[in-house]
């Protein structure tokens, strides 16, 4: 039953005083997959990682690794690899000794240790730096040592606790690619913790979006991006416009939504989280689903407003349109001469493709 799962959490709960860090979580991590625990700080994602690692014991529930129950197994008998946020390299050991530590603890022979350390350093492109001390290495190199140290023991699961957050932006992008490549090549089951949705989207096979100690949605990156299960997931992943609206009517397979500014659109019913006509809702539209048009030229406009600002992003331009009743609406335009075509101050109509929009109830119930 759990034969295909590298890790299984079964109804696991953990409280720290008044804080619920994990509430009744059940989660299966498939063999060889790259699973990301994504959420804001304090959502319990690191606690979940610590539960798998064994640094923290659950109050209730069970944890299985490779089909074996390890709920009470101490962390040093779980054969996992962990990479910490600040790398946690042993400062009094050389790079090679750091990498060799896990093998030494497993009483591997000296010759084999040398060969496997060499091989691990090769994988992370650090061959020849084995004699250095960790503090003589750059942040990116330390990161690689930490990765090599975790991988060299052939862990059943690789646990990564925000490993990229201490790196500067360029290096982070570079390490993302490398991390993914290494993980593919080694084929190790990986659980990755991050609060960075970009990292989660680009690295993961599946993402578990967490909040307040619970998993809100578990799906592929495209799944959580295109079909968020709740307003929280929708707001947390990617950029999204949240437009005040009212669910006017449900007609067959579509929901008619009236935007506060006056426009009215049809959203596929399965993308609508509210089924009571007349209720105040929020219409979620990604910036890339919106486009600009001359005012008056289009009939089915979502809203109308004044161009407020352009943010040039290299591959696209984010245009911010001030719409009455809606505030700033972000429209993503692909053409790079957008600023000339739609100068600041120009009145425009905002049109949208509602096939990718979604509707949720307002988080805060409006006063009635």
């Amino acid at each position: 039953m759990s034969g295909d799962n590298a890790v299984r959490l079964e109804a696991v709960s953990k409280r720290f005083g008044p804080v619920t860090a994990a509430s009744d979580i059940t989660l299966d991590v498939r063999r060889g997959e790259f699973l990301t625990l994504l959420g804001p700080s304090g959502c319990g994602k690191t606690t979940l990682l610590n539960l798998i690692a064994g640094f923290v014991e659950p109050d209730r529930g069970d944890i299985y690794i490779d089909g074996q129950r390890v709920t009470e197994t101490p962390p040093y008998q779980r054969s996992l690899g962990v990479v910490f946020q600040n790398y946690a390299l042993f400062p009094h050991m050389s790079v090679a000794q750091n990498v060799a530590f896990g093998l030494k603890m497993r009483k591997v022979g000296a010759g084999e240790i040398r060969a496997r350390v060499q091989q691990a350093l090769d994988i992370v492109h650090l061959a020849g730096l084995g004699e250095r001390r960790p503090r003589q290495l750059s942040g990116g190199q330390q990161q690689r040592v930490a990765l090599a140290r975790a991988l060299v023991v052939d862990p059943k699961v690789l646990l990564l606790d925000e490993p990229l957050s201490a790196l500067d932006k360029n290096l982070r992008a570079e390490m993302q690619v490398e991390l993914k490549q290494i993980q593919r090549r080694v084929g190790v089951t990986t659980v990755f913790v991050t609060h960075d949705q970009g990292e989660a989207l680009s690295l993961s096979d599946r993402i578990a979006v967490m909040s307040d100690g619970a998993i809100l949605q578990l799906a592929t990156p495209a799944g959580v991006y295109r079909r968020p299960a709740s307003s929280f997931v929708a707001s947390f992943i990617g950029n999204v416009n949240r437009l005040s609206a009212r669910l006017a009517a449900i007609d067959g397979g579509t929901a008619r939504v009236e935007v506060a500014a006056g426009g009215s659109v049809d959203v596929p019913l399965e993308r609508c989280g509210v089924r009571t006509p007349g209720r105040d809702v929020l219409l979620y539209v990604r910036p890339e689903s919106l486009r600009l048009a001359r005012e008056g030229e289009v009939t089915a406009a979502l809203a109308a407003g004044t161009v407020q600002a352009h943010v040039f992003q290299g591959t696209h331009v984010d245009v911010y349109v001030d719409c009455a009743g809606l505030g700033l609406v972000n429209v993503r335009a692909a053409s790079l001469d957008t600023a000339e075509r739609w100068p600041v101050g120009r009145r425009v109509a905002v049109q949208g493709d509602m096939a990718e929009a979604f509707v949720f109830a307002r988080d805060e119930a409006p006063p009635t």
């Binding site: 640094f55 101490p74 962390p75 008998q77 009094h92 603890m105 023991v153």
Partner: protein
């Protein structure tokens, strides 16, 4: 031009003030060392005819010799016990949270603010009750109390600087608790332990006030022997001993700085 002149003047006067302060700080040591080389049998400054006779006399004086060996004995035991006890408490305070933790910390550090003669007097009264006034154990016990805060602080700071993620990393790599202690904690703590021990040793060896109360004729340490001596004689042999004291301590500190990193031991710098 005028600005450059002013700046130079400013730098010059700042240097002069600094120099004066340094001179003020070192003058006691310098005077004593120079007085030690005086040929005459009085403590005078500056020395007239340089001579080493007071070094020889001090070296051959029985009470000083005995005091020196007594001091080594007491220091050896006191610093070792303080190291063991201080490390245990520092570990407990750093790693566990328990009721009365703050109180425990205050009590352990209190000898820093309680006058040494109070401690000495207290132990003397206690020892009289128990009939152990003339024993080395009494001196050792007194010294342990006095140097404990220094050991505690040194070890505590080193412990604080150990990232607990290092221990977790070691555990995740398959290290059972004992291996974590021996291969991770102990090597990383070593400078702090050495520093704590060193300060305990130097303080214990130099301790006078409390020692005056708790030592007897048989157990007197070198500073007490020196005090007894100067009450009767006023020749420069004391200066000679002091000179040796100063030079030896300075050398130990220089070596400690070279090999252990004194700044880190004193926790002036947040060590890594």
């Amino acid at each position: 031009m005028r600005r450059a002149t002013r700046r130079r003047l400013w730098r010059l006067s700042a240097g002069a003030v600094l120099g004066a302060i340094l001179l003020y700080l070192t003058i006691p040591s310098l005077v004593v060392i120079m007085a030690a080389f005086n040929d005459k049998a009085i403590l005078s400054f500056p020395p007239q005819n340089p001579s080493l006779r007071w070094f020889v006399k001090a070296y051959n004086y029985d009470d000083f010799r005995k005091g020196f060996y007594n001091g080594l004995l007491v220091t050896g035991w006191a610093s070792a016990i303080a190291l063991a006890v201080g490390t245990t408490f520092a570990y407990a305070i750093d790693r566990f949270s328990f009721r009365g933790k703050a109180t425990l910390e205050t009590i352990l550090l209190s000898p820093l603010v309680i006058p040494h003669f109070t401690v000495g007097l207290a132990f003397l009264i206690l020892a009289a009750q128990l009939n152990v006034t003339r024993t080395f154990s009494l001196v050792v016990v007194t010294h342990v109390v006095l140097v404990l805060p220094f050991v505690l602080r040194c070890v505590y700071v080193s412990l604080k600087n150990i990232d607990t993620a290092l221990e977790r990393a070691a555990v995740s790599l398959g290290a059972p608790p004992l291996a974590v202690l021996l291969r991770i904690d102990l090597p990383l703590l070593a400078p702090g332990l050495a520093g704590g021990w060193l300060f305990a040793a130097i303080l214990s060896f130099n301790e006078f006030t409390a020692s005056l109360f708790v030592t007897g004729q048989r157990t007197q340490t070198l500073p007490v022997a020196m005090y007894t001596y100067i009450r009767e004689y006023a020749d420069p042999s004391l200066a000679a001993i002091s000179a040796v004291f100063i030079v030896a301590t300075a050398m130990i500190l220089v070596l400690a700085d070279r090999f252990l990193g004194l700044k880190r031991l004193l926790a002036i710098e947040a060590g890594r």
